[in-house]
């Protein structure tokens, strides 16, 4: 089995490397990132609607109190970073400290959400080995999510079949990231994941709440030329990942997962209009004797994937989603967004299609580099949905997580 797993990794690595080579040879402006042009953002776009004072003040507040990411030492508020299903607001205390002129970061935080989800995490990162080309780190994360929606497996499940499960998990992970350039990294990680299902309507129908302990490992490669991660207005993201989840108890749930993801942000009319496109394919190949726990199956639906559908609306072994969003600046810090989402799940990868669709419009409230609030109204096969979130739909927070989360988060 090990030979096959490593074989899969090498095949995957070769595909990604070839893809990266093709991209580097293409006439993209990624190479120019090493000699940045004149620093941007020093002038405001002209011809916009005058912005009401409260929006500008909210933007100022977001810039100064939410916009510094991991930079500040000391106590901080861990704010709005939980998974879909947690509700629109989550918050909790955190403390971080940089040491030795940015050579080590220690960070710990806890958060509690609107829907009662809880997380606690601690991590250590050493980002400056080999002139910042190599970063090493470790993280431990405890998660307790109650009332996660589940509708069954397959693309044809009914909305009325909604039930809920509750899950608790602890994940310890270690990772190494090789970064040859500012915009390209190769990441490897390995860990120990011990999930357990708690008392809930769905769990009571299952034969046992005991879940296996997994050893998850992942190899990924990312090309990322986005100008800002939480409010990108230009650039490209290309990511491929291969994961192996080893069931340490019985082997019955050992499985692999492969992901390919592409996002592009095309500025037009001097960034007054931005076209964002995104595609994501996830597959867990079917093996003869193993299965995938339902909470680790790829899932689809919710505020970052199919916006007119409920969170985690569809589950199956394979998932594909494509999004396109046109953002038009109305005010300096408010964009009107029109979007369409399409995707589906399937038991076999060649059965995937884009049958489930959402259309909609919304508003994006943002600083130059962060969407701090958004309102979306989406319509699709299962009706209308209104969303208020404190994150950008294309922030792709999974790129920032070191410890994998269960359930699978679309």
């Amino acid at each position: 089995m090990k030979t096959r797993i490593f074989g899969n990794y090498w095949r995957f690595a070769a595909i990604i490397t070839n893809l990266a080579f093709v991209l580097l040879c293409a006439p993209l402006d990624v190479a120019a990132q090493d000699t940045l042009p004149v620093p941007d953002g020093l002038s405001e776009p002209r011809g916009l609607i005058a912005e009401p004072g409260p929006i500008t003040r909210a933007t100022l507040f977001a810039d100064r109190h939410l916009g510094k990411g991991d930079l500040n030492n000391g106590f901080y508020v861990d704010f709005g970073k939980m998974i879909p299903g947690a509700g629109w607001l989550s918050a909790g205390p955190g403390y971080r400290k940089w040491f030795g002129r940015d050579t080590m970061l220690l960070d710990g935080s806890a958060a509690y959400s609107w829907n009662g989800y809880k997380t606690v995490q601690a991590r250590a990162v050493l980002p400056k080995f080999a002139k910042s080309r190599l970063a090493l780190g470790t993280q431990v994360r405890w998660m307790d999510y109650g009332d996660v929606d589940y509708f069954g497996v397959g693309p044809d499940t009914l909305e009325g079949a909604r039930t809920q499960f509750a899950i608790q998990a602890t994940h310890i992970a270690a990772h190494a990231t090789l970064r040859p350039t500012r915009w390209f990294d190769i990441d490897a990680q390995i860990g120990l994941l011990s999930p357990s299902l708690k008392d809930s309507p769905l769990n009571r129908t299952m034969p046992s709440a005991d879940q296996p302990t997994f050893v998850p490992s992942e190899l990924s490669m990312t090309i990322d030329t986005r100008n800002y991660r939480e409010h990108p207005t230009s650039g490209l993201l290309l990511r491929g990942a291969a994961s192996h989840y080893e069931d340490r108890d019985t082997g019955a749930f050992t499985h692999q997962r492969y992901e390919g993801e592409l996002a592009g942000f095309i500025p037009m009319a001097g960034e007054r209009v931005v076209l964002a496109v995104h595609g994501w394919l996830v597959t867990t190949p079917r093996d003869n004797d193993t299965s995938v726990p339902f909470y680790m199956l790829p899932s689809l639906g919710g505020s970052n994937s199919l916006r007119s559908f409920a969170d985690y609306r569809f589950h199956d072994r394979n998932m594909v989603v494509a999004n396109a969003e046109l953002r038009i600046a109305m005010m300096t810090h408010v964009d009107l967004a029109m979007f369409t989402d399409a995707g589906n799940v399937a038991a076999r990868i060649h059965d995937l299609d884009l049958e489930k669709r959402s259309y909609g419009a919304g508003l994006r409230f943002h600083t130059r580099r962060q969407t701090f609030a958004r309102i979306d109204v989406a319509q699709g096969n299962e009706g209308w949905r209104f969303l208020f979130r404190l994150t950008d739909p294309f922030a792709l927070s999974r790129l920032e997580r070191r410890a994998a989360v269960v359930p699978f988060v679309p």
Partner: protein, 319 residues
């Protein structure tokens, strides 16, 4: 649960935004060599473009600066860099988008304060600079460059409520000036105590250092900074009650100015600042790369405030 989440979030944000309670001010013993202000004897000839530390201590805009570390405190972005001469600089940068940048305000106000005798560290402004980090060179957004000098180091902060200068004219005058500039971040940690060695002489400088949160309005929720429209709209003085000046200042730190400042304090500070020529005031804004039209509007409003402050004592004398 939901209420608890909101209360938790609100409490944590509230704690990060809180101002100060009304301090019971008291004089602390004045150590030898301690000063906050030195009477300027050459005010009319002072160079407000290069400032008190001169062009010889300014950062070279053509130099390549090595990244030492990123800034890990405060609400502004920034970093520590080292120039080709081995000098270390603390750089305060604007956020991308340049919304209400504090960096130029800090340089201009530092120029004004130092010109009329208040101690200030060496600060300069570069709109952009070349940064060299582990991945190579690139052009970086500029900002306020503060030099870390040999023989001069920050040893502590000082407290508005307890320091050797409480109720002295320079202390009262400093509060008047910061109020005139609509400074909104008057927390104690922005007051720095510097130890400066000049030969055998050891001086202790009490200075108001991170003064960039100003030249806008004094709203408690996300006050505007570096915003001429807001600065022009907010009045300076509302009147005099029981011998104390009522300011229009509405920020978190109103306790510093309420029922504490007399018309004489205001007149002292305004007379001092009013001695600067228009050219000197223009130079103070030019040093921070303000657009000339914006600088002219700021100066006009400052002149208006200076005039209002001076007229207080005249009115009191007439009464």
């Amino acid at each position: 649960m939901r209420v608890a989440t909101i209360v938790l979030a609100a409490a944590m944000f509230g704690a990060s935004c809180a101002g100060v309670g009304r301090p019971q001010v008291q004089n602390a013993p004045r150590p030898p060599g301690a000063s906050m202000w030195v009477e300027p004897t050459d005010l009319a000839t002072r160079d407000l473009y290069n400032g008190p530390w001169g062009a010889e201590n300014a950062p070279d805009p053509k130099d390549v600066y090595d990244l030492v570390e990123l800034k890990h405190s405060g609400v502004n972005l920034g970093m520590t860099v080292k120039d080709s001469k081995g000098r270390e600089w603390s750089v305060k940068q604007p956020f991308p988008g340049n919304l209400d940048s504090e960096a130029p305000v800090e340089v201009t106000i530092s120029r004004l304060l130092s010109a009329i005798g208040y101690h200030q560290p060496p600060v300069y402004f570069l709109p952009a600079f070349t940064l060299k980090d582990d991945f190579g060179r690139h052009v970086e957004r500029g900002g306020r460059f503060r030099l870390k000098m040999d023989g001069m180091k920050e040893t502590d902060s000082w407290d508005w409520a307890a320091n050797p200068f409480v109720r002295s004219k320079e202390y009262q005058g400093l509060i008047v000036l910061l109020t005139m500039f609509n400074s909104t971040d008057l927390k104690n940690t922005n007051n720095s105590l510097y130890e400066r060695k000049d030969g055998d002489l050891l001086e202790h400088w009490y200075l108001s250092r991170d003064v960039g949160s100003a030249l806008g309005d004094t709203h408690r929720m996300a006050p505007r900074k570096n915003h001429i429209d807001s600065f022009e709209q907010l009045p300076f003085i509302l009147g005099v009650t029981n011998g104390f000046v009522d300011f229009a200042y509405k920020g978190w730190y109103t306790n510093l100015v309420r029922e504490r400042i007399t018309p004489e304090d205001v007149a002292w500070a305004c007379t001092l600042l009013g001695q600067l020529s228009d050219q000197q005031l223009q130079d103070a804004f030019r040093a921070a790369h303000f657009e000339p039209e914006i600088a002219t509007r700021f100066i006009a409003k400052l002149r208006e405030k200076i005039q209002q402050g001076r007229s207080l004592t005249l009115a009191a004398a007439r009464d």
